[in-house]
């Protein structure tokens, strides 16, 4: 892996909340801190995963990378160039290099367009290709690439005439039209049936290998993230709290939030029917308008001690092997071990469930 294709430093996005009259009088403003200082880099040819629960800011981060939203603070560099505040032609160029696959392939295609029109659109926008004939050839090639063949059959169809899997293939084909350097895939398979999910993911992975693509894979589903990504970042309330190689994160998670997420995942193995699941977390995710002081996870953490909320927020420190974690007590927690964790956690669950 060579130079990073994308570098995000302290990426921040705050949305203003509509003020009440008293707030206007007092000159107060509240903000939804959707993304609150996120730093990461994506190497060329890798699949970088962003996981977290809804509202953790993973989709917003994706949109910031796409420059679909204005960046409040921080810097974003694509292939060494600062793209934080680009506009106009430079922005159009940026959007040629970075493409997005959306969660709902049906909603992301204009229902009035045929697949041909959908795929032609990027070419028309960026005026790529000599003439229609050349573009036509490309469209057919890409359709073959995503295994929607024969292309003639699919070109004339409207999105609603395709099955879920076929739609996501078409949506993927659209992002490939411009030969992008980075593809942001926002929950590309969450709306797709389980049996086809794997099919789409393998196709995406195959394309990545063949064409040397780079993905940012945004998901809430740890199981597919493990299979699909090389590196994984876990987000909580607008911040990355743990980051590292996908296998390490899942098998040797250190942050208590990551552990809770992993504990919550269902697995298709027998003998768990009569066991209460161990989900070591308490309470519910707080609103992004009111982020707790200190470590933002402390109100839900089963291991939090006074220093967790009294002192500065922990930084995302490298602990070796590219594994980074933002927790002050990760060593102690590791030491507490499984035995203590289960008893404490199940108690916590019973009470807070």
């Amino acid at each position: 892996m060579s130079e990073p294709i994308l570098v995000a430093e302290n990426l921040t996005k705050w949305f203003p909340v509509k003020r009440s009259l008293t707030q206007v009088v007092r000159h107060e403003r509240t903000w939804v801190r959707a993304v609150d200082g996120v730093s990461f880099s994506v190497e060329k040819g890798e699949i970088f995963g962003l996981v977290g629960e809804s509202g953790c800011g993973k989709t917003t981060t994706g949109k910031l990378v796409m420059k679909l939203l204005d960046i409040t603070d921080g810097t974003l560099k694509l292939q060494g160039e600062d793209v934080t505040h680009i506009k106009g032609a430079a922005l159009a160029q940026h959007r040629r290099h970075v493409q997005m696959i959306f969660q709902d392939p049906y909603a992301s295609m204009n229902p009035r367009f045929t697949i041909e029109e959908v795929l032609m659109e990027p070419l028309e926008i960026h005026n790529v290709g000599k003439d229609r004939a050349e573009r036509d050839v490309w469209v057919r090639e890409i359709l073959e690439e995503v295994k929607l063949s024969p292309p003639d059959e699919f070109l004339v169809r409207h999105p609603h005439m395709l099955s879920g899997g076929q739609r996501q293939r078409a949506a993927t084909a659209r992002t490939l039209m411009l030969n992008p350097s980075l593809i942001v895939a926002d929950e590309p398979v969450s709306m797709i049936d389980l049996s086809t999910r794997a099919e789409i993911l393998s196709m995406m992975k195959q394309l990545q290998r063949e064409m040397g693509l780079t993905y940012i894979y945004i998901t809430h589903d740890l199981s597919t993230a493990r299979y699909f990504t090389d590196r994984l970042a876990v987000m909580y309330l607008g911040k990355i709290i743990e980051m590292g190689p996908a296998g390490t994160i899942i098998d040797k998670a250190l942050h208590p939030y990551t552990m809770a997420l992993i504990g919550a995942v269902c697995e298709p193995v027998s003998g768990k029917v009569n066991q209460i699941k161990d989900v070591p977390i308490k309470g519910e995710i707080p609103a992004a308008t009111n982020i707790p002081t200190g470590c933002r996870f402390h109100p839900r953490c089963l291991y939090s001690v006074a220093e967790c909320w009294q002192e500065e927020e922990p930084t995302l420190d490298d602990i070796g092997g590219g594994h980074r974690v933002a927790c002050r007590r990760y060593k102690e927690i590791e030491r507490l071990g499984n035995a203590a964790r289960t008893s404490e956690a199940s108690l916590g669950l019973r009470r807070t469930a």
């Binding site: 796409m66 940026h94 959306f102 969660q103 229902p111 990027p122 926008i125 609603h160």
Partner: protein, 463 residues
């Protein structure tokens, strides 16, 4: 490319044909267009376009005549209108005397509304008119007239012959009744065509047969001459749609009004809906301060009342239909704005708008390729609804005397009817046809609009 479009149009048409009410709309549109294209041969009064308001043009017609086809449904037929040309014209040499006869074959359940003799004369003339009835009774009218130039003389049974007609049949009536009647207040035409029997004044029974109007003209002096003469029977029925209070032929008016209805309705609605849709979409799509500004401008336009502005403008400019259409467009475009804006607010939340942005599409592309096509069905529907609005608006402006006096419009006909109290008098043939025409025109576009909606909205379609 061209062949592509053609193929697309063809497939669109083949789909359109399957929508039944859409075809009804197209059929109606074809009828209206036919009325416009074949206007010349369809008009019974050729000059209606230029002389609709010219009283002289209509003098020969009966007032408030019913449509002719009413006779198909009544047992007592109304007399039809007719123009009778002179027969047996005899010109005596030397004496300069001309006699002519105008036979009128009367066979109807009800008498005509008037019989008129119309002469064009020059110089000094003396004339005698004899009306001889089938039963031999006759009325005689004499008149001497002179003028330096040419003049048109009209002798009306109803206006000029009342007393003579009274006297003609007075002998048949009960003397006591006859004496009690004021000759000036009889239904002269009814009596003229009534059987000479008691009750002829109060309840005349029609007398069928040939009535002959004999005219004897003596020309005095060298310059005097008789240019033309004709007898006009103003019937109870006239033309396909009857006549109004000004004796105008409503069929001709309606046919002549079709093109204006199409022009006013289509032009106003198309221009204003196109402007309104683009404005509304832009306002909703851009949001923020642009939206606020556009909203304020919109509010200014909705709060200005159109009518006073039109009155002022009509005082400044010469009232013309084109100025009126322009003014209506300037104020009508606000119609769809609010709805379109709210639809646009929903549309822009769609992921495909975001996807297009992500692909680097320009605002213009997103507006015109992704958002406005979604609004086509709505635009057609609001166009269809704006059509009757524009037509009636034009009509109400005409009502206060600010209409374009050089054209005939359905609205003007309808408003003339209202102002003459046609509703109260039960002159249905003056109100129903223009009203129905306006409604049908609206329906035409509504049907076409809905049909397009089902076709252009692929979600309603199946595989």
């Amino acid at each position: 490319m061209k062949r592509d479009r053609l193929a697309q149009l063809r497939s669109f048409w083949s789909e359109f044909r399957q929508v039944r009410f859409g075809m009804v709309g197209v059929a109606l549109l074809v009828v209206f267009l036919a009325l416009v294209i074949f206007e010349r041969p369809l008009l019974t009064y050729r000059d209606v376009n230029s002389r609709w308001r010219d009283m002289m043009y209509w003098t020969d017609s009966p007032r408030y005549a019913l449509p002719v086809w009413v006779n198909w449904f009544t047992s007592k037929d109304y007399a039809t209108s007719a123009v009778i040309q002179a027969q047996n014209v005899q010109e005596a040499e030397g004496v300069r005397r001309t006699t002519m006869e105008f036979p009128y074959e009367f066979k109807a359940g009800r008498p005509p509304s008037d019989v008129l003799l119309q002469l064009a004369l020059t110089g000094q003339v003396s004339l005698t008119l004899d009306i001889v009835r089938p039963d031999g009774r006759s009325v005689t009218y004499q008149k001497n007239t002179s003028s330096s130039g040419s003049q048109v003389l009209r002798i009306s049974v109803d206006q000029n012959l009342r007393e003579r007609v009274f006297q003609m049949v007075a002998s048949a009536e009960d003397p006591a009744v006859a004496a009690s009647r004021n000759p000036k207040q009889i239904n002269s035409v009814g009596v003229l065509f009534g059987k000479a029997q008691p009750g002829v004044f109060s309840d005349p029974q029609v007398l069928d047969g040939t009535y002959v109007l004999k005219l004897d003209v003596t020309l005095v002096g060298a310059t005097a001459k008789l240019d033309s003469a004709k007898v006009i029977v103003a019937g109870g029925v006239s033309g396909i749609l009857g006549t109004d209070a000004q004796k105008r032929d409503l069929w001709s008016g309606l046919v002549a009004g079709t093109k204006w209805a199409l022009i006013i309705g289509l032009l106003t609605s198309i221009i204003s809906v196109v402007v309104g849709v683009i404005y509304g979409v832009a306002s909703g799509y851009f949001g923020g301060w642009i939206d606020s500004l556009m909203n304020r401008i919109y509010e200014v336009f909705v709060s200005i009342p159109l009518l006073p502005i039109l009155i002022v403008l009509s005082a400044v400019f010469k009232p013309s239909i084109w100025i009126m259409i322009t003014m209506m467009c300037i104020f009508f475009w606000v119609g769809p704005v609010k709805t379109v804006r709210s639809i646009a607010l929903q549309l822009k939340e769609n992921a495909y708008i975001e996807a297009a942005q992500g692909l680097g599409a320009s605002h213009r592309r997103i507006l015109f390729k992704h958002m406005i096509p979604q609004l086509v069905p709505y635009a057609f529907a609001s166009m269809a609804l704006a059509v009757p609005g524009a037509i009636t608006y034009e009509a109400s402006i005409s009502l206060i005397g600010l209409g374009d006096a050089t054209v005939v419009t359905w609205g003007q006909i309808l408003f003339d009817a209202y102002s003459s109290g046609a509703v109260l008098q039960g002159i249905w043939w003056w109100i129903v046809p223009p009203g129905l025409a306006i409604a049908l025109m609206g329906m035409t576009f509504a049907f076409i609009g809905f049909a397009m909606d089902t076709i252009l909205n692929p979600k309603l379609r199946t595989r």
